[in-house]
Amino acid sequence: MTRLVVRRLLSLIPLLLIVTFLTFSLILLVPGDPAVTLAGDNATPEQIDATRERLGLNDPMLVQYGKWVGDVLTGDLGTSLYRNEQVSETIIDRLPVTLSLTFLALVVALVVAIPAGLIAGTRAGRASDKVATVAASVGVATPSFLLALILLLFFAIWNPWLPATGYVALEDSPWEWFRHLVLPAITLGTAAAAEMTRQLRSSLVDVLKQDYIRTAWSKGLASRVVVGKHALKNAAAPMLTVAGLQVTVLLGGSIIVEQIFGLPGLGQLVISAVNSRDLPMIQGVVVASVIIAVLANLVVDLLYGYLNPKVRAQ
């Protein structure tokens, strides 16, 4: 197990190099010049040139990238081009918002998907299965901005039970933290819930046909043990894989959801950074996202080993 963790963490290095290099190249290909903006409204071409020189924007791309990598290796993610803020500090500031949102969305997804998938999978073909399957299709197909607006209308405007926007840190008030995140988490988690419900349903239908389930019945076990223990542990492995993939999807989706609900997270940060071509900031967010995604998948793999002893042995 330690070997798996070490190997995964080592694989982060090449992965980060590739991803950041790609973002770097993409940003430089996009038209627009931060030096123009930074030099101010009435800047002369000389002033703009000077700014460009100061920022190192005239260097060849590889030199710029190499410099950035060198700085990162010394633990310095750089400074925002505009806000005179350390990139690392800004990210550490914003990260809890996005992590809270993603985590709660995942909780929403699991809380919905496990019972819904169990019901649909054990009653395949019956009415409750059909209801769950249709609901899952609707859930997958509903755009998050639409769902967000509907939820806001119902729970924040017509019935002002929950705040429409804003964020309160967990350490300031857990209850307010939760209240501010309920609607965003439901918005973000619905598609994931639907996806995981479908996955759990189909793997459960498959597992329930296996010989070892017949063995479990032949032992006189109660239905809840046959389904909840023998079938679920085997059916959970494919669902877990989906959950791991969903973490990345949720991180991407959080950009839109943070925007709608006014959450000061990484999503908002990256949008403003991209708009202003704030390269160090963009790179910082990319690094943070890659690390989160890899760690999430590492956790999934460790859980996978628990569910599937055959994998553990290898």
Binding site: S218, V225, N234, K310
Partner: protein, 342 residues
């Protein structure tokens, strides 16, 4: 816990452990219900082994699944009775079945490679039954699991309880299946082709083990196989099934030496013998009828070398031709069928 001491199964040894009367099973198909088991009758007592023999699709497994209450949802039992130690199983509530399964009656399946749950240790899977039926603690269940693994001849039982199924060979997995089945000392064990998927040396070891366990636990054993060699090895009585019906029943020796049904004779001739290894193996021409496509009269008549016009008239009943010897062949008295000598 007195889990380690085998108790006598069934107070009265003479009253049968399992008794099946007029059992008929139908499966839902595209064109309504199809009869897959037709009027089956038998009894098994403690320490007795009854062999059910026949080709695939003859109704052997359906019989076994009916007893365990494990028939597919599409199946129904329009008539008949299955009594397990006097308790009626046909139509009984699921909770009764769940109480009997694993504690009074248990089953070992044909596919050792897929019949164990890959996600749990074998110790857990054995102990689970004991916890369910005897309310044993985790620790007592674990101890019982070690004891059972030891009993079925798995070396290093104390260490192996923590192993997962994929760490065992096919033969060893089948031993684990037996350990699960016998952990609560059931009165009846149904073994559905338990050795078919295994190679011959392992087969012989498992049959020896099964016989030992039967002696130790006073088991009534319903042994399902298509292999007559295995039948000769382990069974006291044999019933031959064909197209959902019992077509001949007798004690094993009699059936082998004096078969009274042409189908049985065919099966016996199809057995490979060391003396006849040079010659080609005999095979019965044709294949068994599909349940929807039963010929009129005797179900075997299209494949039977002795068939006469009367064979296609009425369906022959199962009748006694000698004491303890039944056959469905109308011509049994006329024919001099060939058996095999030990």
């Amino acid at each position: 816990m007195t889990a380690s001491e085998p108790t006598l199964a069934g107070a009265d040894r003479r009253s049968p452990v399992l008794s099946i009367e007029n059992l008929t099973v139908e499966l839902a198909g595209e064109h309504g219900h199809v009869r897959v088991l037709d009027d089956v009758n038998f009894e098994i007592g403690a320490r007795e082994t009854l062999g059910l023999v026949g080709e695939s699709g003859s109704g052997k497994t359906i019989t076994a699944l009916s007893v365990m209450g494990l028939l597919p949802k599409s199946a129904r039992i329009p008539s008949g009775s299955i009594e397990m130690e006097g308790e009626q199983i046909v139509g009984c509530p699921l909770s009764d079945l769940q109480r009997l399964r694993g504690s009074r009656m248990a089953m070992v399946f044909q596919e050792p490679m897929t019949s164990l749950n890959p996600a749990f240790t074998v110790g857990d899977q054995i102990g689970e039954t004991v916890r369910r039926h005897r309310g044993a603690s985790r620790r007592a269940a674990r101890a019982r699991a070690v004891e059972m693994l030891d009993l079925v001849g798995i070396p290093n039982a104390a260490r192996r309880v923590r192993s997962y199924p994929h760490e065992f060979s096919g033969g060893m997995r089948q031993r684990v299946m037996m350990a699960i089945a016998l952990a609560c000392e059931p009165a009846l064990l149904i073994a559905d082709e338990p050795t078919t998927a295994l190679d011959v040396t392992i087969q012989a070891q498992l049959l020896d083990l099964l016989r030992d366990l039967q002696d130790q636990l006073d088991l009534a054993l319903l042994f399902i196989t298509h292999d007559l060699g295995v039948v000769a090895d382990i069974c006291d009585r044999v019933m031959v099934m064909y197209a959902g019906q019992v077509i001949e029943g007798a004690d094993a020796e009699t059936l082998f030496e004096h078969p009274e049904h042409p189908y049985t004779e065919g099966l016996l001739r199809a057995m490979p013998h060391i003396e006849t290894r040079s010659g080609e193996l005999f095979s019965i021409p044709g294949s068994p009828p599909a349940p929807l496509d039963r010929p009129p009269g005797c179900a075997f008549n299209p494949r039977c070398g002795y068939a006469e016009p009367t064979c296609t008239a009425d369906a022959p009943p199962l009748r006694s031709i000698e004491p303890n010897h039944t056959t469905r062949c109308l011509l049994a008295e006329k024919l001099r069928l060939q058996g095999v000598q030990e």
